[in-house]
Every structure is written in C-alpha cells, then in structure tokens.
C-alpha cells in the first residue's frame, strides 16, 4: 500500500500541487485525467523526485518519507521502488535496445551482466522487438522506442510504475501498438499510476480514475462512474470537451 499525504509543489510562488492525498492499493491501476497544466506530470515526477516536492509525505508500506527531509539515500530508495515511462521515451541514445533495458539492472541493481542481458532479451521478446535488440534508438520508430521505454520500466518488479502520457508524443500510426502493450502490462497486476488523454484506454484498464484540476484531485472513482456519472461540474466540463459524444 502506498500513501501520499499533503504532497505539495510550488513553482515561482504558484502551487502546482495543492496538497495531494492519495492511497494506492497494491496491484491497483489508477488513471489520472485532467486539463493541461493541472499538475498531472508534476505529481508523477514528485513521486520519484525528478521534481523535488515542497511538502508532504510519501509512504511505501513501512517506509515513510517526509519529502522536505529526504536524504539522497531516501531518494535513491524511492527511485528503486518506482519505474517511470516518459512521454518522449527518453531512451539512452548511446545504448542499444537491449542495453537500454539491461542498463539499470547491472549498473544500479548490480545484477550480473549476463543475467541482465538475458532479462532484457526476455523483455524484448515480450514487447515484440527481439529482432531489434541491437538497434540504437535512432534506428527505431517512435512506437518501437516507446515499447523499449515501457520494457525498461517492466524489467524490474517495482512497487509502483509511473507512466506519463505514453502515447501523446507518437505519430498516430504508432499509438495503437503502444496502447496494446500498455494493456498487457496492466494485465500483469502491477501497481500503476498512468496519466493519459486516451479516454477509451483509460476506461479499459483503470480500476480507478482520478480527475485532477488546478493541482487538486477534484473527483475520483471507478471508470464506470467517472465517465458516465461524474458529479463535479469541472469533471463534466472536461469530459464534455474530450468525449463530446459521451455526455
């Protein structure tokens, strides 16, 4: 169980996260939706300290981290407990697809090189890119790069997978293959926090949908409720914009 308490982030005197409280059950898949600039990415990035939060607590099972007092060691532990899928893939350009997946395993987690590369090959087979193992990112399509990015995050069983708009940087032709892979990852009972603008994908995979606006959680619930019977006017207005046919 992961608990987030009063998570706050301030940019230039403006609160971007306004004290977020959130409990995440083990194996739960949570999708975050909301307008642009609302703090969805910031929330994800604060959870592994890519952005440094200004206040609050992050609690992983038995370990409580007061974000204002987090030591480099705490941050490192938090990062080892999470994995991150980036909107723009963020693959290492000097590493092949296989090495991109294996890098964290042997450099950070101290697996044997052989063992790490075998794991990478396993993952490559899962994501359908076995034949691209030795290709550098520059030689891969956007969709293939993002699949490697997802593979990198899948390679270890972290407590929480953070996924920030995995398809929004993709050319339309590659969106489907990445969503398909995301669905398969979701089926593995991993604990996930996913930001997306793909509403039908959100409906498909979410156990819970969170609507965020202005750095706050406005409304949350099962997808059936949020998408068909939202209560808050802001949620309704947002959904009317992104799902013109739905409401």
């Amino acid at each position: 169980m992961i608990k987030i308490r009063g998570l706050t982030k301030i940019y230039n005197g403006m609160p971007v996260l306004n004290g977020i409280d959130l409990d995440i059950e083990k194996g739960e898949r949570i999708v975050i939706i909301g307008p642009s600039g609302t703090g969805k990415s910031t929330l994800l990035r604060c959870l592994n300290f890519l952005d440094t939060p200004d206040g609050g607590e992050i609690i992983f099972d038995d370990e409580t981290i007061d974000v204002t007092k987090a030591s480099p060691k705490d941050i490192q532990r938090l990062r080892l407990r999470t994995s991150f899928v980036f909107q723009n893939y963020a693959l290492f350009a000097n590493k092949t697809a296989r090495e991109n997946i294996a890098e964290g395993l042997y450099t950070v987690r101290k697996w044997g090189r052989e063992e790490a590369l075998n794991r990478a090959d396993e993952i490559l087979a899962t994501i359908g890119l076995a034949d691209k193992a030795d290709a550098y990112p520059a030689a891969l399509s956007g969709g293939q790069q993002q699949r490697v990015g997802i593979g990198r995050a899948m390679s270890v069983d972290t407590d929480l997978m953070l996924v920030d708009e995995p398809t929004s940087a993709l050319d339309p032709e590659w969106v489907e293959e990445v969503l398909q892979l995301m669905k398969r990852v979701a089926d593995q009972h991993r604990t996930m926090l996913i930001v997306t603008h793909e509403m039908s994908f959100a409906k498909d995979i979410a156990d819970r949908v969170i609507f965020m606006e202005g750095g706050r959680i406005v409304e949350q619930g099962p997808p059936s409720k949020i998408f068909s019977a939202p209560e808050d006017d802001r949620t309704k207005a947002f959904l009317r914009k992104v799902l013109p046919s739905a409401l």
């Binding site: 592994n48 890519l50 994995s83 991150f84 980036f86 893939y89 000097n94 950070v108 290709a135 520059a138």
Partner: protein, 224 residues
C-alpha cells in the same frame, strides 16, 4: 631579390626533425592533462558545485581572457619570484603547465556545452532508474558528449601544437627554438622559418586528416 638557398633548406630538415619529438611530446602531455582538467571543470560547472563552481568560472575567464604568452611568462619568470621553490621549474615543465591550464579553460567550455547538449530526458531517465551522478556521467552523458566535442577538441589540439612554439621564449629548444638558433647562425631567416613553418603545417595537416576520418566515424555512431 636573391635566390633561395635550397641546399641549406634541405640540410635543415634532418636537423629540425630531431626536435619534432619534443614538440609533439609537450603537446601530447599538455593535451592529456588539459583534457582531464577540462572534464573536471566542465562537470563542476554542470553540477554547479558550490564554491568550486565560482572558482572554476574565474579560472576559465582568466585563462581565456589573457594571452598564452603572458601566462607562460607569468609561470616561468613571474611565479618563482613569489614562490622560490618554483625556481627549479624548467622551461619544458613551465610550458606544459601553461599550455595545460590555458587549453583546459577553452576545452572545459566545449565539453560543458557538449554535456548540456545531451537531451534532458536522458538525464531524467538515468535518475529515474536510480543512477548516481557519477554513473550517469560515465555511462550515459560523457560517452555522448565526447562524440559531440571530439572534433572541436581536435581543433584545440591543433592550436596547442602551434602553441608549443611559444616555449622557445622560455628557453626551450623545441622546433621553433631550434629554428631560431639555426637562423641566428646562418642569417638565412626566410629559409629557416619557411622550413619550420612547413614542419608545423605537415603535422597539422596530418591531424586534420585524422579529424575528418573521426568526424565520418562519429556521425555514424549510435545508428544501426
């Protein structure tokens, strides 16, 4: 106008050839030290390490902002007056120190730019998988930055080789110092200096050739 003394010029070639190793040796040692120092300075600047960052800025500004010749005189003639131990400093060592510091200042800025040129998202991905700053630099950032910086660094090496000729002002008999002595004996200044110029030219051209090949290879790196 008189005719060129071709025989003298040809005779000069083997004489000067003996000094090429010293010139190239000074250049190579200075380059190696400068590269190491420049990488360190670049990382200090990029990581904005408090205090060190400020010192590094001043260092870079000073060594880029003043002539190499002035720096060499400062090290060889000036410093020993303040710090008597340094009187033992011979010309070659003083030249190597001067060249190292001077070119480290320039190269630090190109290395820094190359480091910052590596896509931001790769820094974040490195952190996200739990890499330390050192791991990230060594495994992800520097391998890419060095490829970007390499052609520029070869340019600095070329400048550095030419810069070693100033060591003769510190009494070092390297290529230029030797030529100076020959010219003083023969009074054939034009012949002497055109021969020494060709020496530098050939060395630099050889390096440029290497540089072109390097660029060809680097442009193909990380694509397959």
């Amino acid at each position: 106008m008189r005719a060129l003394d071709i025989e003298y010029m040809l005779g000069l070639v083997p004489v000067l050839l003996k000094y090429v190793p010293l010139t190239l040796g000074m250049a190579s040692v200075s380059m190696a030290l400068a590269l190491a120092l420049a990488s360190l300075l670049a990382i200090i600047r990029v990581a904005r390490i408090p205090v060190l960052d400020g010192i590094t800025r001043v260092f870079i500004s000073f060594f880029r902002g003043t002539p190499l010749l002035v720096q060499l005189f400062l090290f060889y003639y000036g410093l020993p007056q303040l710090v008597p131990v340094l009187t033992a400093l011979d010309g070659v060592t003083a030249a190597i120190i001067g060249l190292t510091l001077h070119f480290a200042a320039y190269m630090a800025e190109s290395i820094r730019a190359a480091i910052l040129g590596v896509d931001r998202s790769q820094w974040e991905a490195s952190k996200a998988i739990g890499m330390s700053m050192a791991q990230m630099m060594r495994r992800i950032i520097l391998p890419q930055a060095s490829r970007v910086a390499a052609p520029t660094l070869v340019n600095y090496f070329i400048d550095l080789i030419k810069g070693t000729s100033l060591a003769f002002t510190l009494g070092v008999t390297e290529l230029m110092g030797a030529a100076q002595k020959e010219a003083a004996g023969s009074f054939l200044y034009f012949e002497t200096f055109i021969v020494v110029a060709v020496f530098y030219w050939v060395i630099v051209e050889a390096l440029s050739l290497f540089q072109q090949r390097l660029e060809g290879r680097l442009s193909k790196a990380f694509v397959r």
